[in-house]
Structures are given as C-alpha cells and as structure tokens.
Symmetry: C2
Subunit: 344 residues, 2 copies
C-alpha cells in the first residue's frame, strides 16, 4: 500500500522476468492460448500466482479497443423492477463473456446524464438504459458513439433499440379477467405520467369498448404510488353505483386502493375486486395476495443484452423494437361480483 494509488502491483513484465520469458508469452498464457509449450505455460502460471498477478483490464481494453463491459444505467435502484432486469442481463452476459456494471441516475435527468457519461468515458462496449427519464436527444447523441438499448421505454432514435412490455395488452388482459369473472362496472385508477401509464389507460379503454362496456368506462387520475391509488380509490368508492372491480395502474397504487377499500369498511375481493400491474414482490405477499399483470422482467433483461450484442458483435444497423407480452397472475384480490350487485 506504500504509495496508496496502485502501489507496485505486479505487471505482465514482472511475471515475464520471473518466469524467464517474454511479455508476449505471458500475454498468450493469460489469455489461454493453446499453442504454448506446457513447460513454459506452467512456469508462467507459477510466476503469476506467486506474484499475485492480475491483468489490468484497462491496459488491455486500451489496445484492444474493446472493454467487454456493458454499462447499465437505471433511473432508480429502488425500483424492484430493475433487480430482475439486471439479473437477466447478467445471466446473458455471463454466457457471452461480457461484464455488467450498473450505475444509477437517482431519479434526476441530470444525474442520469452524468451516469451515462461515466459509462461512455469508460468506453463500455454498449449501454442499456433502464426506464430513463433522460431527454431523447441526449440518448440519440450517445447512440452515435455506442450501441444503446432502452428497457421499459420506447426508443425514438434511429440507432436506438428498445425492449418493452406491451402495456396496452396488459391492461386489456386485466379487463378481460374481470369481465370473465362477471364484472361489468370496472374502473381504472391511472398512473398519470408514469412510464407506460398512458398505454395502460388506453388498453383499459380499448378493452372496455371491445367488450361492449364502453358506456361504463370510468377513469380517475392517480400516480404510481400508494398515495395515488388510495386517493383514486376513495373517489371511485364514492360513486353510485359503485364499481365492482378496480384496475390500478400498478401494484403500489393497487395497495393504496386496497387500503382505501378496507378503510371504507369494505373487503376485497368480496365487495370490490382489485387488479394491479407489475407483479412486484409486494403483490405476492400472502398478506396482500394481489391479482396483477406480470411483465417478464428477467426475459426483458436477457433480450436487452442480446439486442445490444447484435450491434456490438454483429454490426446490425436497423433499429429493433422488442415488445414482450405480459400475462395475468391471478391471486386472491379478484373474485366474481356479489350476486346482488351484478345487475345493479
């Protein structure tokens, strides 16, 4: 630790000297080349082990002009959505020999830009952006330098790819589920400007109309928060006749709604059925057991990396927009409406 910084860490030259061979031979051995005589290979490995040699990734990348690093900038590490997405990315990266480095923008555009800049200066071979709130322009500009894939948000630029969940369809599935149970008065608490919220709302309306319930469409505005769901739900419960089912824009809002339902002396699903969106771990808690729409998060991560590498390793030029289908996860918060209520 003598000098602090990178104190005399052994270099390839040290290993070469100790093993009595040339630098290039050491380099070959370190990279697992096959045409090296067993004797020398051993000598090199021994010397490296004794010295505690560890290749310097930066020096290597500098000459190779390739880092084998993919940077992942997520807008908010608190969003559990990303834990799975990143897991999917890592899983796929491991198979293809890339390393994943994550970065966060802490909910602020300027910080997201900084985080991306760090990745850019590090010369990551590709960058995956998780639901960035960043300007399109910044992203497009960066995409000129390095392949970029957006997860959870539609790409706009010509050289930017994206992997998203089909929010419209997810919302339609939610409505269809309620209708299949016998509900007709199905209301929606929307997610305001939250990512995907407008599409979820459109999907809700489309499904209601398609199923002949256009006249019963009822939307109150909310947010992707417990508070938003709570407020929105209170509004809905005050309506007469009351909706028999509520589709909230995401799980957190649904939980806020659940709370409002209980505060009002009602029970889910007995009095009101409730559907969320995202299938977060919250929804799976036995104590909550929320019917919800699941986004294939891990798969989204895997596809994001695959899509990225098509550009990095295979020179793809045409943009790609991957859209995955969500699916219903039925739990205990939905049930057929009460008999008396059905025809009211």
């Amino acid at each position: 630790m003598a000098s602090k910084l990178q104190p005399g860490k052994p270099t390839i030259t040290d290993v070469a000297r100790r093993a009595g061979v040339s630098k290039s031979l050491v380099s070959l051995v370190m990279r697992g080349a096959d045409h090296v005589s067993p004797g020398r290979r051993q000598a090199v490995n021994k010397a490296a082990a004794e010295l505690g040699y560890r290749p310097n990734a930066m020096a290597r990348s500098l000459v190779q002009r390739r880092t084998h690093l993919v940077g992942v900038m997520v807008s908010d590490l608190h969003n559990p959505f990303f834990a799975d997405v990143v897991a999917g990315i890592q899983e796929q990266a491991e198979r293809t020999g890339y390393k994943v480095l994550v970065n966060s923008g802490n909910r602020a555009p300027a910080r997201e830009a900084d985080a991306m800049e760090t990745l850019l200066q590090l010369r990551a071979d590709g960058i995956i952006l998780g639901s960035p709130v960043l300007d399109d322009e910044v992203i497009v500009r960066a995409s000129l330098e390095v392949p970029i894939v957006l997860v959870g948000r539609e790409a706009r630029g010509p050289a930017v790819d994206s992997v998203t969940n089909d929010d419209r369809k997810g919302a339609e599935i939610a409505v269809e589920h309620c209708v299949a149970l016998g509900h007709r008065r199905i209301a929606h608490i929307d997610g305001g400007e939250g990512a995907g919220a407008p599409d979820r709302r459109r999907g809700y309306e489309a499904a209601m109309k398609r199923l002949g319930l256009g006249a019963l469409v009822s939307v109150v505005s909310g947010t992707y928060t417990e508070e938003g769901g709570h407020r929105g739900c209170l509004l809905l419960l005050a309506q007469r006749p009351r909706p028999t089912a509520i589709f909230a824009a995401n799980d957190l809002a649904a939980i806020g709604a659940l709370n409002a339902i209980e505060e009002s002396g009602l029970k889910a699903p007995d009095d009101v059925s409730l559907v969320g969106y995202d299938n977060t771990s919250l929804a799976a808690l036995r104590h909550i057991s929320l019917t919800t729409i699941h986004q294939p998060r891990i798969e989204m991560g895997q596809l994001a990396l695959i899509t990225l590498l098509e550009r990095v390793d295979r020179d793809r030029e045409e943009p790609r927009r991957v859209v995955l289908s969500p699916r219903l996860v039925a739990r205990a918060s939905t049930a057929p409406p009460r008999e008396g209520v059905r025809e009211s």
Copy 2:
C-alpha cells in the same frame, strides 16, 4: 468489426491537430488548468466540441494509476437495503469526485468472487462490499491490493474496514419498546443464519434478562423470509399462555407472522403486538404499518465511502469498525396488551 467497436472516436491528438496546438495543451485544457491563454483555451474547447471529443477514462487512468472509481459489489440487488446504501455512497462520491459502479453477486459466493474480480481488474480505487457471503479469506487477500469496506457485515481482516448497524442494540430497543407498552411475555422469531440474526437474538435475550423477564424468554427458529416468520409465529401462537408480543428478526418475517396471526383469527396489535427489523418500504405501507427497527441505511453508505477514502486518499492503515445505532419506528402493529391478558 472494423468500425463498430470503438469506431474512430476522436482522440486528444485529433483535437490538438484541429485546434493547432500540442497534445499536452489539450490535456491541460481538458483538466481545467488555469494557466493557459484564453485564446488557445477557446480554440481547444471549440475543436473538442466540434469533434464530439470525450476523454478516454481508461487511457487516463492507465497513466495516472488511479481510476477515481469505487466499485460496489452487493450480494443481491433484490435486497432493498442496498438501494439506500448505494444512494448514500453515491451522494458522498459525488462530493469527492469519485464515480460509483455497482456489481452483483446474485446470492452466490462464486459469483461474488467473480464480480469482485471484475472490479479488481478494472483497478477500482476502492471496493465496498454489501453483505457479502464471500469467504473472509478472499476478502482479506483482495484487501492487500485495494482498500475494502464491508457494509452490513463485521470485518475480520486487519486491513478491512466495516460499517454495520448495532443489531444487538436494535433488538434491545425492540424489547424495551414492548416492555414500555406493558408486555412481559415477549417472544422472538429468529433469523437463523441471516446476516445479523445471531446478534439480534442475543440482543433480545440480553434485554429480556436485564428487564427481569429472563424466565419468559421464548425463541423459535425462523429465517429472513415471509415463510419463516409464518411458521415461527404459528408455533408461538400455539403456546399457552400465548405471548402478547412478538419480535421478528426482520420485516419480511414479521409480515409472515402478521399473516399467521390473522389466519389464526387474531388481530395485531389487539391480540398480539408485532415488531420487525429493517424498516423496509414494506413496513411503511399503510396496509401493513409495522413497528420496526430502522437501520440508517443512507448514512451507512455515506460512512462506507468516507471510511474507504480515508485509506485511498489519506493512507490510513489502522482498521476501522463503524457501528451505527438503529432506532425504533413505532407504527400500528404494537399497542399495550389487553387488560385481561396482562397479568395472566
């Protein structure tokens, strides 16, 4: 591949040529040196902007032998604990000019070792390990090369620092809270081998004895999961006389316990008071409203970075063990015991 990789990204030489100056002058300007004539500075900045020049962090670090990067390896990105810890680290890093790069070991020792190796080869100036399940030996060996700070786990090595929460004390606070409310028969669902669980258990026992309730100590084994808390709680509820308060090893287990309580036709806090640990966002949900022990997560992250930089920037040699005090967050899951039960 020709183009793809790092296709002719402009270098400092390109900028120098375009601005009609030497490489070194460009270097000076880029680093914001003060003794450069205004005219040339402008010329350089202009050329850089036109070219879209972006310094190559690797090349710079190679010669400086310093990356200004701190690597953070977290054992599991799903653990919401880390979102705050990382936020704290980033906050502090921003103030000191360091960049933070996160890595995950996905719950497996071997992958944690890989993740750490990536950081080591990248030559991060320091590494923060979040609740690693990694062998001490691996950590100690790495600490010879680069400063390392453990968060959420006590350090063993001589050159390894740590930042932890005082689990014993937290458990004692939980017990004291129950006693203050009038409870005497306070049971504990422990967390098995989970990080900090043994200390929480010891804290529980110590507090019970200290408060003269040694004879009422009652511990059932559990895990840091909903399932573990559920099972443990069922066991406790079957006891006669029944405990009037339960302290679960963490929030998730507490929620499992809450579920068991309701399944048994009882209510919290009316029939049984419940205390968790960690103050996760779960506990704050209105629907759950769990009394719990809060670990100062953001502060832990900040201190981890500060502690790290004391070695990186200031050559500290003596190990440092930072232990922070947790605090009680009282919510709706605890209340005085029922009158009739009190003296039973």
